[in-house]
């Protein structure tokens, strides 16, 4: 018998109990949906978390060397930037001086951004924390007479729609400033980035209150390597007193572990749902074999062999699996943009393409679940005596 004939007979079998088959399909759909969601939605969530984590803490390994507050703190920071820069050159690492100053204010028009963090830094910070530049430019390392600032998205949102001059209140002084750009840095607080090398007369007033540190990336080091190397450098140059600590800032590994755990939980739920779907098919299959014994005997009398009866029954379950799989995929296709919109930041370019791999895997998983659930009924169906129809 041709495969197409077997498929047509299986399709006729599906029509026998449409509601029952629909309910089987529904339970399987939940499993497929959960699986495809874990595979595709999980990727979106991971992409988002990785993206924000890179902006906030850099790639592995990124660490912060905090320095002692002293009258020569700028020179000390410059020394360590340069010293670390040389040590990191073979592994293409980068070091950048950063100083932050909490509790500043920014005014534009009628709006005041309080609790502003002023980060005085260098152009190179962008290589460690790759902020997307939403408008204007990033710091240029060029001298300016008046302070120029780059706002983060949060600060920019707070002064959105305001016109007029921008003033910055930091270190107890007020400066007329201009905003040269806006970046997305994944920080929840408003931040203004200032150029450390602008060399303006305003700089000393702001920097006096700053705590300096050197942020660096060292792809080939562990945090232990970094600490040992810094201790070595401090010991050679007799600068141990400069260093107050070396702390890791990248958090991808931690997030990865957490995400992995969450993914495992969702995957277990998906597998459980598929198992329930398979049990549903098994239950319905076993109960219908008895109901259908006349039909099965009749089909044998038309020339169907036992293996063909098995194939017909398996194909019926595969139709259910196909419907479930397509429904699950359609739900994911409809829901994924919502998940993306919910999790992904509007400044992030998350790949929103249809998860073909996840969809195929979902279809395959649904098919396997249906196969598992229908195998026993199919074998039982093939054993229905052909002469039973005469009784």
């Amino acid at each position: 018998m041709k495969v197409i004939s077997l498929a047509l007979i299986a399709w006729q079998g599906i029509r026998r109990r449409p509601l029952r088959n629909l309910l089987s399909a529904l339970s399987l759909t939940v499993g497929v949906l959960a699986l495809v969601l874990v595979l595709s939605g999980g990727a979106v969530v991971r992409e988002t978390i990785v993206f924000d984590s890179r902006l906030q803490g850099g790639d592995a390994l990124t660490a912060n060397l905090t320095l002692t507050d002293s009258p020569q703190k700028f020179a000390v920071a410059e020394y360590w930037r340069s010293s670390l820069g040389r040590a990191l050159a073979p592994q293409r690492g980068i070091a950048s001086v950063t100083a932050s100053n909490d509790g500043a204010l920014l005014r534009k028009g009628d709006e005041t951004v309080s609790d502003l963090v002023v980060v005085t830094t260098e152009k190179a910070l962008l290589e460690i924390r790759p902020f997307p530049v939403l408008r204007g430019t990033w710091l240029t390392d060029e001298p300016t007479y008046a302070p120029t600032v780059v706002l983060n998205h949060r600060a920019d949102q707070m002064v959105e729609g305001q016109t007029g001059p921008v003033t910055l209140v930091a270190g107890g002084q007020t400066f007329r400033t201009s905003v040269i750009g806006v970046v997305y840095d994944a920080e929840p607080r408003p931040v203004a980035y200032l150029d450390m090398h602008a060399d303006g007369p305003w700089q000393a007033a702001i920097e006096d209150t700053n705590v300096y540190s050197v942020q660096f990336t060292a792809p080939a080091w562990s945090i232990g390597d970094a600490r040992s190397r810094i201790n070595e450098l401090a010991s050679i140059s007799d600068r141990a007193a400069d260093v107050t600590g070396v702390e890791r800032t990248d958090r991808l590994e931690t997030f990865d572990r957490q995400l992995d755990l969450v993914n495992r939980v969702f995957l277990a739920v998906a597998i459980l749902s598929l198992l329930i779907g398979a049990l549903g098919i098994l239950n319905i299959g076993l109960s219908t074999v008895r109901e259908r014994s006349d039909e099965l005997s009749l089909r044998r009398s038309f020339g169907a062999t036992r293996p063909q009866v098995v194939v017909i029954m398996l194909l019926e379950s595969q139709f259910v699996a196909l419907v479930s799989g397509l429904a699950g995929i359609a739900l994911v296709a409809g829901g994924l943009p919502l998940i993306t919109a919910h999790f992904a930041d509007r400044f992030q370019e998350v790949s929103t393409g249809f998860p073909v791999g996840g969809a195929l895997l979902g279809l395959a998983a649904g098919s396997v679940a249906a196969l598992v659930g229908s195998l026993a009924p199919a074998l039982r169906a093939s054993r229905v005596p052909i002469a039973a129809i005469m009784r």
């Binding site: 047509l8 089909r299 020339g303 052909i386 005469m390």
Partner: protein, 225 residues
Amino acid sequence: MTTLELTAGAKSVSLPGGRPLPVLTGVDLSVEPGETLAIQGASGSGKSTLLAVLGLLDSLTGGRYTVGGIDVAAISERRRARLRSTTFGFIYQRFCLISHLTAEENVEAPLLHGGVRRRERARRARDLLDQVGLTDRREHRPGQLSGGEQQRVAVARALVHRPSVVLADEPTGSLDQDTGTAVMRSLLDLAADDGVTLIVVTHDPAVAAVCGRVVRLDRGAVQGS
């Protein structure tokens, strides 16, 4: 055309406890192509079992059975299934239509199993439904048809794949006298048109009377014909 030869055909079934119960005992029967044969006997005499054996729905436990010269015990299940589907058409007392299919789909069913193309299936099914007077009932499901109409659908289904032998088990047993006569008349006419061998198990003397030969079974053995 196909000759059926049953020699010393025996069939027994196992009762609980393994004790064998003989159903057919040494049945010798030869049916020539185009013949119409009625099998009669009391309930439990083995009529339906004999019909099942003749139609390859059941197998013998003793003796020999050939269909068109082929010893059915010597061929594979696959070949037996093929032989069954190409040689035999079946009509049952309970009609045995597939409840979720339309009349036309029920008639098409043997052709679908035979791998016949859709257009050809539809053409042949419609022709036969026309011949049994069910042109306007094609799209109806068995539950929407009367007993007589259902049996006429079963007659069409038994003949649609052009078998050389039609085996009917009490075809009028579930019908009233008039309807039964009408169904039997359709069956005989259609069988005669195509030179089909017709073997009918029946209690009804009127049905047996229209057949060319009558075989009587008693406790699994042929008592006379």
